[in-house]
Symmetry: C2
Subunit: 266 residues, 2 copies
């Protein structure tokens, strides 16, 4: 974790008392991603797991589809760059249509309005008990060490019915999710029917990314927006917000949540 | 506030008990800003105060400098667009160099590395007592009604030594600040030596925006990153984080904070 943090002397104050203390801050660096020698984007991020971030970003933007399309990757944290060389042309138009959000950052690879033409997809994937969801989110928060230390990052995890598989932290919600995606691509791991856990608020872009991963659950500590709920309903994703302790709000497709004694949610 | 929210039926669960309730969600819409008939950006935002958002964004991006440069503005929330017609050419290059963050969103109008060539500016502006800062942040939180209702937005305010002048809320930290900036531009109000209050984490872009406004204080409920602290030191901004109740952490230029009996912070 030391690569993620920076110790600095600060002045802490409480009721007119002041004290010089050392504080732990999360690191933020600007990293530029190049694909086939062309600059794609500059991200402000926590400068670790840069290869995962680059691959996840290129995948989320639709520039890459499989790990096999990558020839080589070179990362140079000192100069703030990751170079990716692939065997496919950049399929996206130049400049990339970019939706600058809202909450948190990166461009959506699909513009929300494009989703509107699609029919609602059939409900597939696993069902989870409310008890198991609470256990999963408990494990997720336990692992959020950088968040607990600095208060300045977001955590994101990919899980399946067996538990958490990949866990990443970054100052940006989207970067954290892209790092998870990048790890999946690098490992050749499928994300179909997966569960995505995030500490951040859920805006439309998070749902669009979850949809691209074919995830069935998107579970957050924070609040969703109305657009993210509308997109989740359309995309067949069970969206759960304010998931804390044994409490949760189920905003879409509650039929995938099973309650003790009562069977499936209605 | 009704324009900001959307009431939806959801399923609330606690310890295997479930209940159908009505929840209040913050609204999220995509809004495209056009300047002189050219599309500049699409933002996901809370769809109110769209003129302020557009003007603030154009100002933050360096496309506009004064209100007098605007010929007319037309907003069309139904179609998700704001058209701005101005008497100056878009001075920025096409496409705009955009730093996709990190935490939250919009492109920085100044790339952090550009700041590095500048000398540290002399310390100017007001000093505030730690007591007054606590009072100010208390008033700020009291006004964060949408945050309290939905848990899904960020608040931002502009204040001076007399108190809060402008207060705005949005699902995006940067949008909230841009709405504040837009309001200032529309009112012809100077922001020199002002105080910016935000509920969100402080990343480099927030400091760059505060610098462009010539603000002297940037005060947050959340955590700063190491880069935001470094930029604040260079820009002569007093950066305060974790400002809650009578507690605060002062990360840069503490000499502007006065403590009872002890004089200025050291």
């Amino acid at each position: 974790m030391e690569g993620n943090i920076h110790r600095l002397p600060i002045l802490r104050s409480y009721r007119d008392r002041k004290k010089h203390v050392e504080d732990v801050l999360v690191r933020e660096s600007s990293i530029t991603i190049f694909y086939n020698e062309r600059k794609i984007v500059t991200l402000l991020c926590t400068p670790v797991e840069l290869m995962e971030l680059a691959i996840g970003f290129l995948f989320s933007e639709g520039i890459l589809s499989h790990f096999e399309e990558i020839r080589w990757i070179s990362e140079d944290p000192e100069r703030g760059r990751v170079m990716v060389e692939g065997c496919v042309e950049n399929r996206t138009q130049e400049p990339v249509e970019r939706v600058i959000t809202s909450g948190c950052g990166q461009g959506a690879f699909l513009f929300p309005s494009e989703e509107q033409g699609e029919n609602e997809i059939s409900i597939r994937g696993i069902s989870l008990s409310s008890y198991w969801i609470s256990q999963l989110i408990r494990e997720f928060y336990k692992r959020s060490q950088l968040y607990l230390t600095t208060g300045g990052v977001h955590s994101c995890a990919l899980a399946n019915e067996g538990g958490i598989i990949i866990f990443r932290e970054d100052i940006g919600r989207h970067n954290a999710l892209d790092k998870v995606v990048g790890k999946c691509v690098m490992e050749g791991m499928g994300t179909e029917d997966s569960i995505i856990l995030t500490t951040g608020r859920v805006s439309a872009e998070m749902v669009i990314k979850a949809r691209r991963m074919n995830a069935t659950f998107l579970i957050s500590r924070g609040a969703p927006t109305d657009l993210s709920v509308a997109l989740s309903k359309k995309a067949g994703i069970t969206l759960i917000g304010f998931c804390r302790g044994e409490r949760m709000n189920i905003y879409s497709h509650p039929e995938r949540v099973i309650f003790k004694g009562n069977g499936k949610a209605t």
